[in-house]
Amino acid sequence: MEKNKEMIDVLIDYIRKKLPAKKQGQVSRLIKDNPELGDLHELLKVLVSEGRQAEAPGLIETAQKMSGRLFEDYKKHLADDIPGRALTVYDSSVFPLPDGVRSALVDSRRMKFKSDDIVIEVSLYPLSIDLYELIGQITGLPEGGKGRVILKSDKSKYTVDTDQFHLFRFNYLPAREYTMIVEYEGNRVAHIDMTL
């Protein structure tokens, strides 16, 4: 085992090209002559060259935040069983910002929600510190029919009809918690909880 351990270190240094030229050549010949060592070298090569790229800094944390929101929506669904409850599948606000960049300087946010075959994509543009323009599109609805989007908060209610491509827009939305209801031909097809 000890010998094997030392060989692993040598192979890793070989893969990283850290060995003196003469030793690189020796190891290269050893790998060619010994199939078992060749297999270990192949495995380590993939681990060393691909491994570090697999988990870029912040990747797991960002993925956890994104999927955490999805799961919170799922838990709400388990608790209240509201028909058409859409789950958050994308929210650009979870991406880490470069050092020194304040979140207020990021000029837009994209979110995506999914309820079975219906996908609601929303882009938010800040108009002032606490007012937003919201532009959205619904996919997965039959073409042509009448779509309607209702945004409700504890203080207000806004309603817009979608166009023929199921695009919609709300202007001057105050920053707060909302429930978005999507209707198609008068029937509720999606229920979304979101915080602006």
Partner: protein
């Protein structure tokens, strides 16, 4: 060992279905490297990769009930990730071609050297699919050793995993042997 893994996955899946956030967090921790390895090999941007990741997480959650006892969780994750990447690529290509067919050709994701890129992609995906089949502690150990972008030294790994520094070398050798056995058993070739 495989039955242990199935039990672990099965227990995790069951707790996820009951709404256990910690179980979901652990499941996501396991599948994330595989999803992003596939996205990276297909040259997706960060935003595109997270788009795919969101879809995969959604489909995974929706189909957890069917995956509870199948032992095919990671195979399923790999399959839906590839499917979502291809769907995204088709959509992106359609948009580019609509805007300008010549520009669309220039920006086509076809790699410069298809065989090389395909081989690299295959190897990394094969590895990811095999590595998650290791017992959890071995998986965490190899992740810390090879995948962590912060490149922790042996002292840090020893603290993180609660093992003496002196046992890191032998543990590494044992974990690699286990990984080779999994690859052989699953007829994976690197």
């Amino acid at each position: 060992m495989d039955s242990d893994k199935k039990t672990t996955h099965s227990a995790l899946v069951k707790r996820c279905l009951e709404g256990n956030t910690e179980a979901w967090r652990r499941l996501i921790d396991r599948v994330t490297p595989l999803v992003f390895a596939i996205c990276r090999n297909m040259r997706l941007s960060r935003e595109e990769s997270f788009d795919v990741f969101g879809q995969v997480s959604y489909l995974l959650l929706k189909n957890l009930e069917n995956l509870r006892s199948s032992g095919k969780l990671m195979t399923y994750v790999a399959a839906i990730t590839r499917h979502e990447v291809l769907a995204l690529n088709r959509k992106a290509k359609r948009i580019r071609e609509t805007q300008d067919p010549i520009l669309g050709m220039l920006y086509d994701r076809s790699p410069d050297s298809p065989e090389d890129v395909f081989e690299t992609a295959q190897k990394s995906e094969v590895l990811m699919e095999a590595i998650v089949l290791l017992p959890e502690r071995d998986y965490e150990f190899l992740r810390a050793l090879f995948f962590d972008a912060s490149e922790p030294d042996y002292e840090e790994i020893s603290k993180r995993l609660g093992m003496p520094v002196s046992s890191i070398g032998p543990t590494r050798a044992r974990c690699l042997q286990k990984l080779q056995r999994i690859l052989k058993r699953k007829r994976f070739r690197l």
